[in-house]
């Protein structure tokens, strides 16, 4: 059994930033474990640009964004194990991992940062009827085939779901010579960023069919086509609106699930809305000394926020390793009010904040052109802020100052988001 101060599970953007930040904050003994053959995670296949607008103020591609962090990590001599898969994590922070190179490894860590990211929802998650032929891929799998392995998944393509990966792949496959027939979205609005609708669909005249879904899949060996239909307000197909579209490939871009098998094994409490661990002000889970950050906590739309969150987890782990006392200070519960789907972190101990500011990440339940975000406690209103063009697909980031949270008898924080009339009066 090996002993380590800090083990980070996952070498994507979250794991990289967490490792670097922990080292900067005085943690010397760090081991980062990555199951793939390279660092950078999904960024290595996200060859499009638009990463880093918040952190670097420039538009980088995924590999470029990753390389900046990989270079920094290497310059700090942080130990990395590649092609090594963690298969067990206990609440006592004992880790079991396997790898071709190192065999079976057992490590006792003093602190752990979970940075395993997320995986894509598949056909099984959304129960599309029909046959089960080849040619149905998640958009991210197709992205890996095209951008890393150099294979095309097909030529005549239908995409279900207008999440960002689906939109990006619509453009990517078109550039590579495929015919993307349409993007089908069950909701009356797109789940992707506006810039992606414009630059990935409109640029190439790819139709986006809102309030439509795939209701049948045809073909025996290989997919031959899909039946799509319009849906009503309760998302049920409307009889009479069915339409057959021939295709040899169906891509699914229908959402992401945080990857929390290890977290559950360690007895960490999972938030049923985010699908990730419940975390406190320093990204610590309900198991003391185990931290989590990035898409393992909740699915992000921008990598910049993953990095920020991971830096907080890295600082938090360093703080924990210095004192290693349980957070016995009072715990303020974060309450999700109307208009919001979730707020992260879910618990705050104001006295133990790692800096004088606290980031709160949240998502709205519906698009609103103008909305008022209100943060209240048992003592009354702490902060209000007007937000414009709120969309469920674009995460809201609010910063509260430490002094705003240090009221003596604070018991809870409630976040609410209410729609307001638009000042422009033209909508």
């Amino acid at each position: 059994m090996e002993n380590r101060d800090l083990v980070i599970i996952g070498g994507g953007p979250a794991g990289l930033a967490a490792a670097i930040e922990a080292k900067k904050n005085g943690v010397e003994d760090i081991l980062l474990i990555e199951r793939d053959s390279h660092l950078g995670g999904v960024l290595q296949q996200c060859i499009h640009n638009g990463f880093g607008l918040h952190i670097f103020k420039e538009e980088l591609t995924g590999p470029e964004y990753a390389e900046r962090f990989i270079n920094e990590l290497k310059s700090m001599n942080i130990e990395v194990m590649l092609e090594t898969m963690v298969i067990e994590l206990t609440s006592q922070k004992k880790i079991t991992a396997v790898s071709k190179k190192y065999g079976l490894i057992e490590i006792q860590a003093r602190a752990v940062i979970l940075a395993m990211g997320c995986r894509e929802r598949t056909r099984g998650a959304i129960n599309i009827p029909g046959t089960r032929p080849a040619g149905i891929f998640t958009a991210g799998t197709a992205q890996r085939y095209v951008n890393i392995e150099g294979f095309m998944p097909g030529k005549e393509i239908v995409i279900l779901g207008s999440g960002d990966i689906g939109l990006i792949m619509a453009r990517r496959l078109t550039l590579e010579g495929a015919h993307v027939k349409c993007v089908v979205e069950i909701m009356p609005y797109s789940n992707g960023l506006t810039r992606n609708i414009v630059q990935c669909l409109n640029d190439f005249d790819i139709p986006l069919l809102l309030s439509h879904t795939v209701i049948n899949i045809h073909g025996k060996k290989r997919i031959e086509g899909v039946t799509i239909a319009k849906v009503d307000e309760s998302l049920r197909p409307i009889p009479g609106t069915e339409r057959y579209i021939s295709c040899d490939t169906l891509l699914l871009s229908v959402g992401l699930i945080p990857e929390n098998e290890l977290s559950k094994m360690a007895g960490i409490k999972i938030d049923s809305v985010t699908g990730g661990p419940i975390v406190n002000q320093r990204m610590e889970t309900t198991v003391e000394g185990i931290f989590a950050c990035g898409n393992v906590c909740h699915v992000h739309d921008l990598v910049d926020f993953v990095t920020q969150e991971a830096q907080l987890a890295g600082k938090g782990a360093a703080q924990y390793l210095k004192s290693e006392k349980p957070s016995s200070q009072r715990m303020v519960k974060v309450d999700v009010g109307e208009g919001l789907r979730y707020v992260l972190p879910q618990i705050i101990s104001p006295e133990l904040m790692v800096s004088d500011k606290q980031n709160f990440f949240m998502r709205s339940i519906a698009p609103m052109s103008k909305a008022r975000l209100m943060i209240t406690s048992n003592n009354g209103v702490i902060k209000t802020q007007t937000l414009r063009f709120v969309k469920p697909s674009e995460m809201i980031n609010i910063v509260l100052k430490k002094e705003e949270l240090l009221e003596p008898n604070i018991e809870f924080l409630r976040f609410t988001l209410r729609e307001e009339g638009d000042g422009y009066g033209d909508e």
């Binding site: 060859i47 640009n49 538009e59 591609t61 590999p63 890393i148 392995e149 150099g150």
Partner: protein, 121 residues
């Protein structure tokens, strides 16, 4: 000749739908934008829209053909995207390559170089 074109602005998340009126190919009127940045964006979109092209080229690694991610150093005119893809089809790079190295010069006659998005040892 008069023509109307609609542009969805991507400068900020508001996403204004901007109407651009063209007379004989020249911008005569812009409406629907809330700010000046939207006007500038819409004008460029209608007269000379540009995009950064990101794609991959072949790279030889231990005898295996793999893909090296690349991008245009600057945005290129949108109507050159497919031509640029064609030119890059037969490009093969030999490592080592450093992020930012030029792998192809003056893509599609645009005057813009294509650079590696990733280092490869």
């Amino acid at each position: 000749m008069e023509m109307n074109k609609e542009v969805i602005c991507i400068v900020c998340p508001r996403g204004c739908h901007i109407d651009v009126k063209l007379v004989d190919g020249k911008v005569a009127n812009i409406s629907g934008n809330v700010c000046q940045r939207g006007k500038t964006y819409a004008e460029a979109e209608v007269t000379n829209p540009k995009r950064v092209l990101t794609t991959t080229v072949s790279i030889i690694d231990n005898g295996n053909q793999k893909r090296l991610p690349v991008r245009t150093k600057e945005p290129i005119p949108k109507n050159l995207l497919m031509k640029a893809m064609k030119e890059l089809k037969n490009v093969t790079v030999k490592p080592p390559v450093k992020m930012g190295d030029v792998v192809y010069k003056n893509i599609a006659g645009s005057g813009v170089d294509v650079i590696a998005s990733k280092s490869w040892e």
